[in-house]
Symmetry: D2
């Protein structure tokens, strides 16, 4: 079987780990990585990540010209750069290359542009692209419908240095119509990578759903999951939660 | 609105708590309770349970004659007695009264009889009738389908005196095709009412689903939930897990 | 061996459970219970609590006269009433009867009076008299000294109806010099009896200490533990945390 | 202040992480690392670990001659190699250099040799050298003495590939006189680095003590902690649990 060719935008802390996951998965061929600046330019991401083979040639954003996506074709483009990355790969999207974006936050203008890509290709956008956290959110929303009188509280735990409240936790709170000020509790201690817990309390019983990231490679695995899902799908905009919700629908057990 | 009339078989430790929950819910009228033996016969369950009004007249199994279910009609019959209770209310089932059975374990003969009731009425049978534990099981089965490579382990915690492995935990293990000897861990300490945890491990992330019973009134609430569901449903055999699975199907979030 | 004779002040929700624990422990003889009002006066607490024998004669606060503690002697007096209860048993304290008070909160005036009792008898005062929560607090204080750079957060979980922040959690926060506003998180859901968790985070490891009350009988067991400790001790004021700290000191393992 | 000079034996997976922790701590100067084989010999550990400076010259075990420890003096020697490493640094020990060994398991012969080192220097031996796990063990032993009737169970969770039962968990079970077959439960799922939980159950309350390793750097921090403790101590054999027990003794809170 031919390998799925991947191009990555972004080579920061998370981008590197995501690249590593694609390099380690024999289903994929990492074609190139686009990063800011000229530093370590035109080398291979694989070498920089400690591998003994050449893969993932590194380009600067300035290398992106008219011909880039034609001369260096990929089957999917994965974006872990920043909110302006998408201006650079507009041509790729118009040419029908599936786009996976895991950017934390877009301005409305960028969000509109991303959505416009969906006319010519399939686009998946999810700020938190791990499988588990989206499973947690979908399960929690269903449970809230099943037990509408349950009291619900969310606890999110992250490393001491994380200043803001977890965006993922806020998204879950919104999906559950919970007031963030009252029902979302942020714990900041030590080196916790990331943990989210949703507590459902009824008078006589409790349900707790929790997700814990062991390390950031979970994001790479999420991107791999997203690419596999997206290839071959109709044009349109997708998100991890729509995928997971669909998987819930297709896997209801029969007794 | 007219109250839903309830008859209960069984007045042991759990039966009493279930009766209390029906007494406390203004939607219901507890008509009678059938118990073994003559002791405290022809009094009211309500009085024995510390209430200041008369409800739930107590009958002995020997009081059940041809006319019992005609003279003392109910809208649903809830069985927390034992595996032979169903012989006594065969007539009720044939007359179309919905049956809720929470008996732990039936012999095949009794199970066949119970199933035969489903030709003339709606029958719900669930050894563990709490809402939460069934939500846990359905969610776990879906999650296993979404993440088929996840390692799964089950921990069940109960009070020191509980000798056998939790039947509920074994049922969950079976639903997940897990070998009970290898993947089910039983903790027996102190006075824990009952806690089940299902652990999903992926290389970079963990999901934990847990259910904890605070007290046995959870069974009464489960019975109330089951009665509300069952009344008006077509003849047939139902279980808590089929109800919950159906509720999952009807409540998949749309984004 | 002669039984330890106990008198209890207070017969509310917790007082009743505490009385039950003393009734069920063959080491003790519950002599009397003093409660407010005349209701069910001069009956036996044992009967009101479902026992088949007479114990714990019930008296009204108005029955306490000059001779009460002389005519109805006890070996220890346990107070689960309210902050003014101690005015009634001043004479008992002066006569040398050990006092165990589990009152939630005293005004300074009452606190001074309680301390004055310590000149003539041994007095133990602890708003939270469970064994476990005090073990948690002492262990947390030691751990903070061993790992002074650890980040510490406290989560307390209680039933939805509990309005105020857990006094026990505030006490632990104070003992650890943590700002309550920032580092204490209150979860209010369903019917949780009471759970406290102290989280210690270091860059590469986490320690979590948690205590969970299964039911209020834990307070009765704490009172029993306190009575056993207090009898025969020198005059003075004691608390559960001083007892537990002393037990830590006497039980450091030797390798 | 002069830096504390460190020599490390062992440069495997854990050895590298331990070296990194010493390199990153300005209190220490990593002088050398001794590893098996000639590969990457006479380079600097710092460079191999991604640092931009020279520290921790790498030597082969064959480089250890009569003069090694005289020509390349250190203030403490840290051993993360294997059970035979100690034959190579016998001379260092006889010369009074403090030894920290974190070898998992010694044969009796090697253990006797290690103990003999204690006549001429201070030796600390702990198979699990993290701070947290030893705190857990000491606290659990004290708690068992305080609540001798508590039921105790241990759960240890590690990555799927870990074949054997956690040695640390077995050590804790032994310290608590618990039968390993009955009371120790091993969970093997996904990529969990390592988690130990000790559950204490009483009829009305539960205490849970848990320790979780976020990553293996916890071993390096444990070694740093051990070196700081050991320097200047009298000759003799020490362990992390004796240090922690001593710290418990010195930090009992006073109320």
């Amino acid at each position: 079987m031919e390998k799925i060719r991947i191009g990555i935008f972004g080579f920061g802390k998370t981008g590197k780990i995501v690249a590593t996951e694609f390099l380690n998965d024999s289903l994929f061929q990492l074609e190139w990585v686009v990063r800011k600046g000229h530093e370590k330019h035109h080398k291979y991401a694989s070498r920089l990540l400690g591998q003994e083979f050449d893969a993932g040639e590194i380009f600067s954003v300035e290398d992106i010209d008219e011909m880039f996506f034609i001369e260096k074709p990929v089957d999917a483009l994965v974006d872990f750069s920043d909110s302006t990355g998408l201006y650079l790969y507009e041509k790729a999207a118009k040419a029908g290359i599936p786009i996976i974006s895991a950017i934390s936050k877009y301005e409305q203008k960028e969000l509109d542009l991303l959505k416009s890509f969906a006319e010519s290709t399939s686009v998946l956008y999810s700020p938190n692209i791990t499988l588990g956290i989206n499973v947690l959110m979908v399960a929690a929303q269903i449970l809230q419908k099943i037990a509408p009188h349950a009291d619900i509280e969310i606890i999110e735990e992250h490393f001491k240095g994380k200043k803001e409240v977890s965006g993922t936790a806020k998204k879950i709170a919104n999906a559950l119509c919970l007031n963030v000020e009252e029902h979302l509790h942020s714990i900041r201690v030590g080196g916790i990578v990331g943990r989210h817990e949703i507590i459902f309390g009824l008078p006589n019983q409790m349900i707790r759903l929790s997700h814990e990231s062991i390390n950031r490679a979970a994001f790479g695995q999420g991107a791999i999951f997203a690419v596999k899902f997206l290839i071959g799908k109709p044009h349109g905009i997708y998100s991890m939660e729509t995928i997971i919700a669909e998987m819930f629908r297709n896997n209801i057990p029969v007794y």
